[in-house]
C-alpha cells in the first residue's frame, strides 16, 4: 500500500457518533490519516470549505439535509468540486447509487464497514 508522507485529511459527515468513532479508531491505526467529523450536512459543508479535506466520507441519512443535497452542494462549490466523495450507506439500491454517481459520487462503502476495505479505498481515491 502506497503511503504518502503528508497526512491525508478525511472529513466524515455522519450524525451517528458510534459510527464516527469507529472510523476514527480505524483510521488512527494508521498515522497517515487525520479525521474530521461533522455531525450534520450544514456542519459538513462548512468543514469541507474550511479544511479542504482530501477525501470526504458522506452518510446519506443526516439530521438537517439529505446526503444527496450535501453531495450536490459539494460538487457545486469550486473548492470541493473535485474532492473524492465516498458515500457510506447501509442500503442504497442500484437506482439510488446510479443517481448519486451522476451527481458526482466517487464510490460507495457499505455498512457494516469492512475496515480494511475502507482504508484501501480512501488510500486509493486520495492518491
Amino acid at each position: 500500500m502506497p503511503v504518502s508522507p503528508e497526512p491525508v485529511t478525511v472529513l466524515y459527515i455522519e450524525d451517528n457518533r458510534v459510527n464516527a468513532l469507529l472510523v476514527q479508531r480505524a483510521l488512527t491505526v494508521h498515522s497517515t490519516f487525520q479525521l474530521i467529523v461533522a455531525e450534520s450536512g450544514g456542519a459538513g459543508l462548512a468543514a469541507a470549505h474550511e479544511h479542504r479535506p482530501c477525501v470526504i466520507l458522506l452518510d446519506l441519512h443526516l439530521p438537517d439535509m439529505s446526503g444527496e443535497a450535501v453531495l450536490q452542494q459539494l460538487r457545486a462549490a469550486p473548492e470541493t468540486k473535485a474532492t473524492p466523495v465516498l458515500v457510506v450507506t447501509a442500503d442504497a439500491a442500484a437506482s439510488v447509487q446510479e443517481r448519486l454517481l451522476t451527481l458526482g459520487a466517487t464510490a460507495f462503502l457499505t455498512k457494516p464497514l469492512d475496515l480494511r476495505g475502507l482504508i484501501r479505498t480512501i488510500t486509493e481515491v486520495a492518491a
Partner: protein
C-alpha cells in the same frame, strides 16, 4: 359528470318510451271497453225485448188454450149459467190482451199472424159474446165456431212463431251472456293493465330514484375513492420507506458491532479474548445475514427486488460458491465434488442472486451432512431452454412428509433443536429468488441417502461459449502482467482469478480512473482491461490519456462496459481499444481475446 348526464338522459328516454307504450295500450283498451259497454247495452235491450215477446207468445198460447178448454167445458157440460159465461168472457179478454201485447212488441210478421188469428176467432168471439150476454151457451156454439182446420193451421203457425221467438230470445240471452264474459275478461285485462301501469310507473320511479341516488352516491363517493387510493399509495410508499429505513436502522448498529469487532481483531489479544471475539463476530455476521434475508424476502414480496438479469456462466458461479464454502466444508470434513461438462453452461439470471441461492444450497448440503460425507454439485443443460444446478448431500435426507415444508419460511423441520445454525429463511428466500429469475427450486430425496436440491434457470437459445484450453505459461517479463481498471471489486476479483488460472496472468486492480492511470504508468503491464463506467472519470478519457502518453500508448486496452450495443463497441474501437467486451462478461470470450491480444505482444518482444 358527462357520463352521468348521458346515462340519466338515456334512462329518461327509455322510461318515457315505456310509459307512452303502456298509456297507449291503456287508451285502446278504454275505447274498446266503452264501445263494448254501449254495444252490450243495445244487446241487452234487444235480448230483453225478444224475451218479453217470447214470454208474451207463451202467455197468449196459455190464455187461448185456457179459454178454449173453458169454452169446451162449458159447451160440453150443457148447463152453463151466467157465472160460466162471465168467466169465459174474462178469459177471452185476457187472451185478447196478450195477443194485443204481441202486436205491440212484435214486428209486422207478428202483427199479421195476430191479425189472422183474430180474424179466424172473431165470428166465434162475437157469437160467444152474444151467448154470454144471453147466458145461453149451447152446442150451437161449436157449430158456429171457427172451423177446426183453419184454426189448427193458425194455431200451428202461432205455435211455430212462439217457438221461433223463444229460440231468438234464448239465442240473444246466450249471446249476451257470452259478450258479458268477454267484457268481463276485457275489464279484467283493462284493470290488470291499469294496475300494471301504476305498478310499472311506481317501480320506474323508484328505480329511477334509486338509480339517481346511486349515481349521486357514486358521484359523491368519487372523492372518497380518490382519498382511499391516495391512502393506499401513501401506505405503499410508507411500506417502501419502512423497508428502506429498517434496512438502515438494523444495519447501522451492526456497523458498530462488527466494526469495533474488527478493530479488536487488529489488537493483541489473549487466546481466550480472541475466541470470545470470534463468537461476537460470527454471531454478528449471522445476524447481519438474517437481516439481509428478511429484507430480501420483504423486497421480493413487495416486488421491489431489483435484479440484473443477464447471461451468466453457471460453471463460474459454482466455482465461486465452492471456493466460498471451502472453509466450512473443510471444517466439517465434507468433500465437495463438482460434476460439469467441459463446455460451460450458460443461464439467463442475476449472477449475484444465483450465487446467493447456490451458496445457500451448498452450505445446507455441508451443514446437514453426515461427518466425512460428500456434496455433489452437478451443472447441466437440462433442455434447450433450461440449465440446472443440482446439489446432492449424503445426509439423512428430508422425510417424505416434510418435503413440502422445506421451503416454508422459519420452518427448520426440527433442526432448531440441533446445533446446526440457520435462520429458517434460506430455502424460502432461495425459492423466491429462483422464481423471481423465472426459474424453479425443487427438492427430492436422493436414491441412496440425502437430498437433492435442483435450481433450474432459463438458458440462452444458443451456446456460444467454447471450451478454453489453458494457454502456455507466459515466459516472465511484462507479458504476465495485466492492470484491471474496474470499480466493482467482485468483477476485478473475478478477472484476476480467471486470467490467473486460465492464462497464468498476474492481475492488479485499480478501482478508479486516476489510480488506474497511475498504476498503468508505474507497472507498464502487457494489457489493460478498462471498464468504461468508472466512478471518478469517464473510461474513454482514461483511454485517451493512455493513448496520448508515449509511455503507455503501446499497451493494448480491452474495454468492458455494461452499456451494450454496436455503438459502444464502435466508440471503443475508434478510441483505440483493441477489443470491446460487453458486460456481463463471457469469460470464455474474454480469455480468448486476452490470449490473442498478448500473442503479438510476445512476438514483438521476442
Amino acid at each position: 359528470m358527462i357520463g352521468l348526464a348521458r346515462r340519466l338522459a338515456s334512462f329518461t328516454r327509455a322510461s318515457s318510451l315505456a310509459a307512452f307504450g303502456i298509456i297507449a295500450a291503456l287508451a285502446i283498451l278504454v275505447v274498446w271497453e266503452v264501445w263494448v259497454t254501449v254495444d252490450s247495452r243495445r244487446t241487452l235491450d234487444d235480448v230483453t225485448h225478444a224475451k218479453e215477446l217470447s214470454d208474451q207468445y207463451q202467455q197468449a198460447a196459455f190464455e187461448f188454450s185456457a179459454g178454449e178448454s173453458l169454452a169446451l167445458t162449458i159447451i160440453t157440460s150443457g148447463d152453463a149459467d151466467a157465472e160460466d159465461a162471465r168467466r169465459l168472457g174474462e178469459q177471452v179478454d185476457r187472451a185478447l190482451a196478450s195477443v194485443m201485447r204481441i202486436t205491440e212488441l212484435g214486428d209486422a210478421n207478428d202483427r199479421a199472424l195476430v191479425q189472422r188469428l183474430l180474424d179466424e176467432y172473431t165470428p166465434a168471439l162475437r157469437m160467444l159474446q152474444a151467448l154470454i150476454e144471453t147466458g145461453n151457451l149451447t152446442r150451437e156454439f161449436t157449430d158456429q165456431g171457427p172451423s177446426p182446420e183453419a184454426l189448427s193451421v193458425t194455431r200451428a203457425e202461432f205455435q211455430k212463431m212462439a217457438e221461433q221467438r223463444k229460440a231468438e230470445a234464448d239465442a240473444g240471452i246466450a249471446d249476451y251472456r257470452e259478450s258479458q264474459d268477454v267484457r268481463l275478461g276485457v275489464t279484467a285485462a283493462l284493470g290488470g293493465a291499469g294496475i300494471l301501469l301504476v305498478f310499472g310507473l311506481v317501480v320506474a320511479l323508484r328505480h329511477y330514484g334509486k338509480r339517481e341516488a346511486k349515481l349521486a352516491a357514486i358521484a359523491a363517493s368519487q372523492p372518497q375513492l380518490e382519498a382511499a387510493r391516495d391512502q393506499a399509495d401513501r401506505a405503499n410508499r410508507a411500506k417502501s420507506e419502512f423497508l428502506s429505513r429498517m434496512s438502515h436502522e438494523l444495519r447501522t448498529p451492526m456497523n458498530a458491532v462488527l466494526g469495533f469487532g474488527q478493530l479488536l481483531e487488529m489488537d493483541d489479544l489473549t487466546p481466550e479474548q480472541r475466541e470470545n471475539l470470534s463468537y461476537i463476530m460470527s454471531s454478528g455476521k449471522h445476524l447481519l445475514g438474517l437481516i439481509d434475508e428478511v429484507l430480501d424476502i420483504s423486497r421480493i414480496e413487495s416486488g421491489r427486488l431489483s435484479l440484473s438479469i443477464e447471461r451468466i456462466s453457471l460453471r463460474q458461479v459454482v466455482s465461486d460458491v465452492v471456493e466460498m464454502t471451502a472453509p466450512l466444508a473443510a471444517d466439517r470434513g465434507i468433500t465437495v465434488v463438482v460434476e460439469t461438462a467441459n463446455v460451460d453452461t450458460p443461464a439467463i439470471a442475476d449472477v449475484q442472486r444465483t450465487k446467493q441461492v447456490l451458496l445457500n444450497l451448498v452450505s445446507n448440503a455441508i451443514k446437514y451432512n453426515k461427518p466425512g460425507g460428500w456434496v455433489t454439485i452437478a451443472v447441466c443443460r437440462e433442455s434447450v431452454r433450461h440449465a440446472s444446478v443440482s446439489v446432492t448431500d449424503t445426509g439423512n435426507g428430508v422425510p417424505e412428509d416434510k418435503l413440502e415444508r422445506v421451503f416454508s419460511p422459519f420452518d427448520r423441520l426440527g433442526a432448531e433443536s440441533t446445533s446446526i445454525q440457520g435462520t429458517g429463511l434460506g430455502l424460502a428466500l432461495s425459492k423466491a429468488l429462483a422464481e423471481a429469475m423465472n426459474g424453479t427450486l425443487g427438492v427430492r430425496n436422493a436414491p441412496e441417502a440425502g437430498a437433492t436440491f435442483t435450481l433450474t434457470l432459463p438458458a440462452p437459445g444458443e451456446s456460444s461459449v467454447s471450451a478454453t484450453p489453458a494457454m502456455a505459461p507466459c515466459s516472465g517479463g511484462d507479458c504476465g502482467k495485466v492492470v484491471c481498471i474496474e470499480d466493482n471489486y467482485a468483477s476485478s476479483e473475478l478477472l484476476a482469478q480467471v486470467l490467473g488460472s486460465q492464462l497464468q496472468l498476474d492481475v492488479t486492480a485499480a478501482s478508479t480512473g486516476r489510480s488506474g492511470l497511475r498504476l498503468v504508468h508505474d507497472e507498464r503491464p502487457a494489457l489493460v482491461l478498462l471498464d468504461i463506467d468508472l466512478p471518478d472519470m469517464d473510461g474513454y478519457e482514461v483511454l485517451a490519456r493512455l493513448r496520448s502518453d508515449p509511455a503507455t500508448a503501446g499497451i493494448p486496452v480491452i474495454v468492458t462496459s455494461a452499456t451494450n450495443g454496436a455503438h459502444a463497441s464502435d466508440h471503443a474501437l475508434a478510441s483505440g481499444a483493441i477489443a470491446f467486451l460487453p458486460k456481463p462478461l463471457d469469460l470464455g470470450w474474454l480469455v480468448s481475446v486476452v490470449r490473442d491480444a498478448l500473442s503479438p505482444a510476445e512476438a514483438r518482444a521476442a
